[in-house]
């Protein structure tokens, strides 16, 4: 029996040691917002925040995360009370089929935190003097671990830039 803290609530779970965080969420806790697109850390659809940092939840086992704070798409907001990033994806049409979308949104929230903390990316120019700005190139680079086959990339970039620069999701 392990205890997982998901979106602020504690859950006691009896899981197989082979069970990933992703499968614990989807098959045991009924939190199906985090998606399984590849189960190999190749697509990003399963992205959750663990202690505020974005993680592919298919690549880490549930038994390794007692005491960690796990945040899923359900924990960010809900219809009628959306998180600014969810609202911005809605308005910018940063999704089509919706399957990669929770991962994109959670990843985007985690990514803005990384930028705020001054983490550089592959395309960041001079890392000796201040952090990265939120150019389209920076956002695209930092979001390239989240695949979208419907190809909403241009709108995803717009949605994230709006939240990153204004803090607001609504247009």
């Amino acid at each position: 029996m392990i205890t997982l803290t998901v979106n602020g609530a504690e859950h006691k779970l009896d899981v197989d040691i082979r069970t990933t965080i992703l499968d614990a969420l989807r098959d045991h806790l009924g939190l199906t917002g985090s998606k399984k697109g590849c189960d190999h850390g190749q697509c990003g659809a399963c992205t959750v925040l663990i202690n505020g940092r974005r993680v592919n939840s298919c690549l880490t086992l549930a038994v390794m995360h007692e005491g960690d704070e796990i945040t899923t798409i359900e924990g960010l907001g809900e219809p009628g009370n959306l998180h600014p990033m969810q609202e911005s994806f809605l308005h910018h049409d940063g999704y089509q089929c919706g399957y990669c979308t929770p991962g994109q949104i959670v990843s985007a929230v985690g990514m803005l935190g990384e930028v705020k903390d001054g983490w550089p990316s592959h395309v960041t120019g001079d890392i000796a003097h201040g952090g990265a700005d939120l150019s389209n190139e920076e956002i695209s680079e930092r979001m390239s671990g989240n695949l979208c086959r419907c190809s909403a990339y241009p709108n995803i970039v717009d949605a994230i830039r709006q939240v990153g620069t204004t803090g607001k999701g609504a247009v």
Partner: protein, 740 residues
């Protein structure tokens, strides 16, 4: 008893309530109807139904590890003894891949292995981990035989394809003589590899039986067709299957036919007497569902010295697995896109031991126009003509094959608008003539065309006294925007705020629509909603004692003879329900219908590494009335990005010794990622096609993928002078030809 109303499109439709647009909703860039559920993770996809239900068992497929042979035995004894295993089900009637959507059922295993990664059996256990583990213990003994895995090596064994999405052979005049006599000729052969749809949601199904009635939560694009395929495979009446597909994580053709996940889940759930879920792994999706065929395409163009086409041939060889007759109809647009008196368009099919080849986004055009639009670019250069001018000189006045008038055709307008916006006049005229540091800069263009398809469709509308409206049909939304555009059509015609219109989709109990495929969805399902809504208006008019065309519907009221009456007052507690059916008619037969566009691309090719970066990409499209500017634009982005993938990175690599699809996951099959895509531009030209449908629209979902890859590779040629005729244009193919 509901009212039924039927409309057959035998004559062009004049001005409609969509033109007067009293409510002002049609065409507007509204946010998606189901958006709040999707962005908050609350829209349940197939696998996610019955989540947390302890009664659910989990299935895991076992696939073949050989490419061709006869199954001697399947030893399940070790797997059956593994912890948690409930059953190992080996059913010879099980599918060897997804179904071709045109077939009544998926081809059955029947003791044979016809391709590497073919489903063999399913292990069902209490948990997913247990099923996955036990699946490794199943021993499949196959008497192997020599398989055929290589299209190039089998090109001479190809046979004439059976007529399918188009006739396998379309000819006119005398191509050979005209080509022999042409003043300028071009004879080039292009090859394209097998491709994978790679929708983000892996194929999944949740099956549950109540007595002899099956409920299947699926991920399929064509509900009614798929219910039929599943029932046929299980040997039960269609009426005993209820399919629910309200949310589908992408399709692109990969979910047009019922798949092994549903058949095995249904068989296992029936045998065990409890619900069973099966989600294919990503690797299984690549190997056990379907693919787009690889192609060899020979293009021959003969012209006069001033660039008028006199002879045009497009001869294609495609592949499919034994017994599967679908062929990739690469020549579908070649039939009508350009003028020329002497024409020959043929398709042959080679039987290979590879996964089923079936429809993938814009079957035919998507890879056919890679070849055609590259050849047009090559010929334009040979003639010394601007590629736009060459196309303009070959713009046909009527369908060049059978002389039918076009219902609408804005190709030239799209090219001209695009050229202006893209500053085409200032492109580098000679290849490899513009350089920025180590990057060679080039521009290319291509035409887009996608044949317009239209299907019979039904939808029901209920309008209650309080002004609430429910639109219901078994139509699907695979990310295309169906929910939203059907809401907009109903709200516009009935004069209701959009919030008052609810849309229910993807349930086989609802009126039958043709599903999502071939870009016919919005026009077909939308027309049935149009017909049903007009039926409701007619009822209201009757109650007011006026003619339907005397009524204006707006803001929950009906306005007639200068009197505005709230719906509550007219309906007095009654609910009106009308089922509308739309049928294609004479206008579809009497005209040639297609959507058109033009793509313009700027690339940078690295002079040292051969790497290509797409810097700008513009698509100008004309597809009749646009129902929602936002979702239509997103569809075009999707097509453009699919095109970047097919031009530069996407290829299913076949190990020609074994038939293994080597790169069967998302790390190795390279779909474009965010950083591969610049900010794109899409321009939708105003157009109304009153011959095509009551909505005056045409298909748009696949238009933008048609030709776009050729705009990319034409730009690559313009940038660096290397013309690669073997897609995708990866850097290893470009590097040897780069200027010193």
């Amino acid at each position: 008893m509901d009212d039924q109303t039927v409309f057959k499109m035998d004559e062009p439709v004049g001005e409609t309530r969509l033109d007067t647009a009293a409510q002002g909703l049609i065409g507007k860039p509204l946010d998606r109807f189901e958006g709040p559920l999707k962005v908050s993770g609350r829209a349940p996809y197939a696998y996610e139904n019955l989540a947390g239900d302890p009664d659910v068992a989990f299935g895991y497929l076992v696939l073949s590890g050989t490419g061709a042979g006869t199954i001697r035995s399947v030893d399940t004894s070790a797997a059956e003894k593994a912890p948690g295993v409930l059953a190992v089900i080996h059913d010879d009637n099980g599918p060897r891949a997804s179904a071709d959507p045109n077939d009544q059922r998926p081809a059955a295993i029947k003791g044979e292995v016809v391709h590497f990664g073919q489903p063999i059996c399913v292990v069902v256990a209490e948990t997913y981990e247990q099923a996955r583990d036990a699946a490794r213990l199943v021993k499949v003994d196959v008497e192997t035989k020599e398989g055929q895995y290589d299209l190039l090596a089998n090109r001479d064994r190809a046979h004439k394809a059976q007529n399918g999405a188009m006739q396998a052979e379309v000819t006119k005049g005398d191509f050979d003589t005209a080509y022999a006599n042409a003043e300028v000729t071009l004879d080039v052969t292009y090859t394209t590899p097998s491709q994978s749809h790679s929708a983000m949601e892996p194929h999944a199904a949740t099956a549950k039986w109540d007595g002899d009635e099956l409920t299947i939560f699926g991920c399929y694009q064509l509900v009614s067709t798929n219910v039929g395929q599943l029932a046929k495979t299980l040997g039960i009446p269609k009426s005993k299957v209820r399919m629910l597909n309200p949310y589908i994580g992408g399709g692109f053709g990969g979910k047009l036919g019922i798949g092994p996940e549903s058949v095995f889940a249904a068989i296992a759930a029936r045998q065990l007497g409890r619900p069973v879920k099966i989600a294919l792994t990503r690797q299984q999706v690549y190997q056990a569902t379907s693919r787009r065929s690889d192609t060899i395409q020979r293009l021959r163009l003969g012209t006069t010295r001033d660039g008028r086409i006199t002879a045009l041939a497009h001869d294609t060889i495609t592949s499919n697995s034994p017994g599967d007759e679908f062929f990739e109809p690469t020549g579908i647009s070649t039939v009508f896109l350009y003028a020329g008196e002497n024409r020959q368009i043929t398709h042959k099919l080679a039987e290979l031991n590879l996964l089923l080849s079936s429809s993938m986004r814009a079957p035919g055009e998507a890879v056919g126009m890679l070849a055609l639009e590259n050849a047009m670019d090559e010929m334009a250069e040979k003639l010394g003509l601007d590629p736009i001018e060459f196309r303009r000189r070959n713009e046909p006045e009527v369908d060049p094959q059978d002389g039918k008038p076009f219902s609408s055709r804005s190709l030239v307008q799209c090219m001209e608008e695009g050229a202006k916006r893209f500053d085409w006049a200032n492109r580098p005229k000679a290849p490899a003539s513009r350089r920025e540091g180590e990057w060679l800069i080039g521009m290319g263009m291509a035409a887009a065309s996608r044949k317009n398809l239209l299907q019979q469709s039904s939808a029901a509308i209920s309008l209650s006294s309080d002004g609430r409206c429910v639109v219901s049909t078994d139509m699907t939304d695979i990310g295309t925007g169906t929910y939203t555009i059907l809401q907009q059509i109903a709200a516009e015609i009935l004069g209701l705020p959009r919030e008052q219109v609810i849309v229910k989709l993807g349930d086989s109990d609802l009126p039958q629509a043709p599903g999502s495929g071939g870009s016919w969805g919005a026009n077909s399902a939308g027309s049935s909603v149009f017909v049903a809504a007009e039926g409701v208006v007619a009822k209201i008019a009757e109650k007011l004692g006026v003619k339907p065309d005397e009524v204006t519907m707006k803001d929950g009221t009906a306005i007639a003879h200068n009197k505005q009456t709230p719906l509550a007052e007219i309906l007095k507690g009654e609910t009106i329900t009308v089922t509308g059916t739309f049928k294609p008619g004479r206008t579809f037969k009497d005209t040639h219908q297609a959507s058109y566009g033009a793509h313009f691309c700027e690339v940078a090719v690295n002079a040292v590494t051969g790497e290509t970066r797409v810097r700008r990409l513009l698509t100008v499209a004309a597809a009749g009335r646009i129902l929602n500017e936002k979702t239509a634009t997103s569809q075009c982005y999707g097509g453009q990005i699919f095109g970047i993938g097919s031009a530069l990175t996407e290829e299913l690599v076949v190990d020609t010794r074994t038939g293994l699809l080597v790169n069967h996951d998302l790390a190795e099959y390279h779909v474009p990622v965010n950083a591969d895509v610049p900010q794109l531009e899409v321009v939708l030209l105003p157009e109304r096609d009153r011959i095509a449908s009551p909505l005056a629209g045409k298909g748009i979902g696949e238009l933008a993928i048609c030709g776009v890859g050729a705009a990319v590779t034409n730009a690559v040629y313009n940038a660096c002078g290397v013309r690669v005729r073997d897609y995708p244009m990866t850097l290893d193919k470009i590097l040897p030809g780069l200027p010193a």
